[in-house]
């Protein structure tokens, strides 16, 4: 828009009026990702039509599988829980202008740390074990992403690349440990660690089959939002993320900000790893590398890196994942087709970035 503003008297009268004028930007943040999602669904419909299936059936079964019944809702929410946490691993560093895509690595390291902690305290009361597991998972994941942040701050290594490559390092460490030193001799086909024990599992939210990880995720997302928008730390992070030169000229310590934010981001993904162990798997093995870390990147981008928006978006994407089984059973589509849909969504969301500020009717009267 214009860079020119008249004197304050005229300007006061010139404040944007009307619903569109006042909320144009907010509407944009909902409309554009929504349209990208719809566009992706249409393209996926065409993809499915090529398999000779009716796209309308597809949309119906996707809805059924994700949100149609209480059973599918529980399935969806269970999948959303780790997604919220891994999305935060991308969304938090984004406030500093960093693109971290290594949430998967932090998740794996978090799971390993949490499992090790549980196995190290076999006779402690369950609550203590659970706390210790959460602390260990968060610390492990946090340090893992902080490594990327440190490489960027002190060695000038691109954090996107280093965090991605560290995923494979994490996977290699995990495989080494579960096949070697930490292997449970009883796990024959699927090398795994010993189980943390049924008593130490964190269980479900009463009345549901959704585990407590969902609550952890929602709390973490709200905490991140409050941290970024209501605290001095978040303010400093937004200054440094918006313009690093401005941050330096007012003496903010950019290095500390990067390391702290990276640690917090990794902690979220590490907590996701702990939850997967303590609520789902009960042990650490290669099953943990289920791609939650990578899907979290999609969630963060779709939520435009807003920690609060991560919650509904994670539920939506969790729903798409949850509907995969139904699509396979009812339409005979390959299991991987929901991954195709995720890929299409990602492309649409990234492309839709170009639309911000260009939608005519949201710019106020011409």
């Amino acid at each position: 828009m214009t860079s020119e503003v008249a004197d304050s008297v005229e300007a006061a009268a010139a404040a944007p009026t009307g619903f569109l004028g006042r909320h144009g930007a907010t509407i944009e943040y909902i409309l554009i990702p929504g349209a990208a999602l719809a566009g992706a669904l249409v393209v996926f419909g065409i993809f499915v039509a090529l398999f000779g299936k009716n796209p309308l059936d597809l949309y119906f079964y996707m809805y059924q599988g994700a949100f149609g019944t209480w059973f599918s809702w529980q399935n969806t929410l269970t999948r959303a829980a780790p997604l919220i946490l891994t999305a935060l691993c991308t969304a938090l560093p984004a406030q500093l202008g960093m693109v971290i895509i290594g949430g998967e690595g932090a998740l794996l390291i978090g799971a390993l740390s949490a499992t090790s902690m549980a196995l190290a305290m076999p006779s402690a009361p369950p609550l203590a074990v659970q706390f210790a597991m959460a602390a260990a998972g968060m610390t492990g994941g946090g340090l893992w992403i902080m490594l990327s942040g440190g490489l960027r701050q002190y060695r000038g290594v691109n954090e996107t690349i280093s965090s991605l490559l560290l995923v494979y390092v994490a996977l290699a460490i995990l495989n080494h440990l579960v096949e070697g030193p930490m292997r449970d001799p009883a796990s024959l086909n699927k090398p795994s660690t010993r189980e943390i024990g049924a008593a130490n599992m964190i269980g479900s939210i009463p009345g549901t089959e959704v585990h407590w990880g969902l609550v952890f995720g929602v709390i973490a997302a709200i905490a991140c939002y409050v941290l970024i928008y209501h605290t001095t730390f978040g303010f400093a992070a937004r200054v440094a993320g918006g313009n690093i030169r401005a941050a330096k000229i007012v003496g903010l310590s950019v290095g500390n900000l990067i390391l702290t934010i990276c640690f917090l981001a990794g902690s979220c993904a590490g907590l996701a790893g702990m939850v997967e162990v303590a609520a789902v798997q009960g042990r650490t093995n290669a099953n943990l590398a289920a791609g939650y870390g990578f899907t979290g990147i999609l969630v963060a981008f779709l939520a435009r890196q807003n920690p609060l928006a991560v919650i509904p978006v994670a539920i939506l994407i969790g729903g798409i994942g949850a509907s995969g089984g139904l699509l396979q059973r009812r339409l005979g589509l390959p299991d991987a087709s929901v991954l195709v849909l995720q890929g299409i969504i990602f492309v649409f969301v990234l492309a839709s970035d170009a639309l911000y500020g260009r939608i005519g009717f949201l710019k106020g009267k011409p």
Binding site: S3, V5, T17, G234, P366
Partner: protein, 510 residues
Amino acid sequence: MIVGEIPQPPGAFGIDAIAMTMRFGDFTALDNVELKVRAGTLHALLGENGAGKSTLVKCIMGYYRATEGQMIVGDREQTIANPKDAHALGLGMVYQHFTLVPAMTVAENLVLARDNVPAVIDWAKEKKDLAAFLSRMPFKVPLGARVADISAGERQKCEILKQLYLKRRFLILDEPTSVLTPGEADEVLGMLRKMVENGGLTILMITHKFREVMAFADEMTILRRGRLAGKGPVRELTPDAMARAMIGAEELTIQPPRSGEAGGVRLELDKLNALDDAGAVAVNDVSLSVRGGEIVGIAGVSGNGQRQLVEVLAGQREAESGEIRVAGEAYRASREEMRRHKMSLLPEEPLKNACVGGMSVADNVAFREFDRAPFAKGGWWLDRAAFRSDAERKISRYKIKTRGPDMPIAALSGGNVQRAVLARELGGDVEVLIAANPCFGLDFAAVAQIHAEIMAARNRGAAVLLVSEDLDELLELSDRLVVMFHGRLVYEAHASEADLTEVGRHMAGH
């Protein structure tokens, strides 16, 4: 317009923008403005920041669609819906900032700009054509040189040549001399003036500088707050009358007289060395001390290490060696030290160096104090109401023109961004002030206000280091003047006794 209708007659043509009104939402940027530029004249468009000059030329060039108004180009009414239409009519624009590709040669840049670049370029033929074209032009540029290697003056000439090469016969120049030294500015404008006189070209020039208007323009139009505030032949107007038309009834801030004695040494640089981005030595063994109640001016042609020196002082660049001491203590530009020593910084290009464009005015003016009461409750919880009330106070005290404290600061005009930074940096006590080209590209009202604030800070006992490329500004404000050349300080004098030819000689490295 329908391209290929009836071609415009050759030679210079004028334009007449009639009753132009441009509204953005409820905000009127242009209100019923007429701009008539006669064929074969050099017309100056004057006005303060935010007066609507850029909006007007953007309407003419088709970047904006005027809400109301008519455009007559030559002697026919035309609808200019986009810049392509404007180009087809022979209208071209030279921007304040360069639009050349630095890594390509001048010749490549010229050919690249054409609409009809063939898929395979016959460079031998193009170079011959370009050489023939250049021989008809009053200015020469090295065709084979990379744009990155030529001076700012030559780049500006290339920009103008590019427009002529594209056969534009009506040029709009947006502050064409803001990046040039006075010598280069006179040269370029003199040549343009000659081309206008020889016929074939009409020029509309946006400018702040009266000297250039008086020396080179035939006619002028003055805008104020989106309305026409005056027009007429240059010879009938005095600079005073122009200034009055531009600023209207607004009173300029009066600069306080120099008062008080210089105190003890407050800021000391000891054998400071720093590199530029390419790793070359930019600041070379600079030693300097500034006392409280003193303004030390650093003069020099742009690119002699002043920027890197200021960046080191601002904490934006690491020094290679040497030491900075403030009030006798080593200084490493941490937040705590800046606060303890009451350091203030007014960097050049404030939007790029000192603001976050997407954050609000209220947030931006709080960058120094946001982590203390009253902005932060308990040292960590942000109190939005405090941000707002503090911003409102600063907006009125520093006359920042904004639609409100919640506007993103990038939406403000340059002068108002600088006012916001001024409010933040000089709003509290100041013991050390470092200012770099604080008035670059600003209008009188803003310049007068900034000069007054700097002088007032000095009179209150602050040590001021003023780095500027504007010698007049330095001579007016400084107590002591030093010249920087190739990263070294090569000359020092009391400003009142400085010999201009001597200063100029050292700036040029002789």
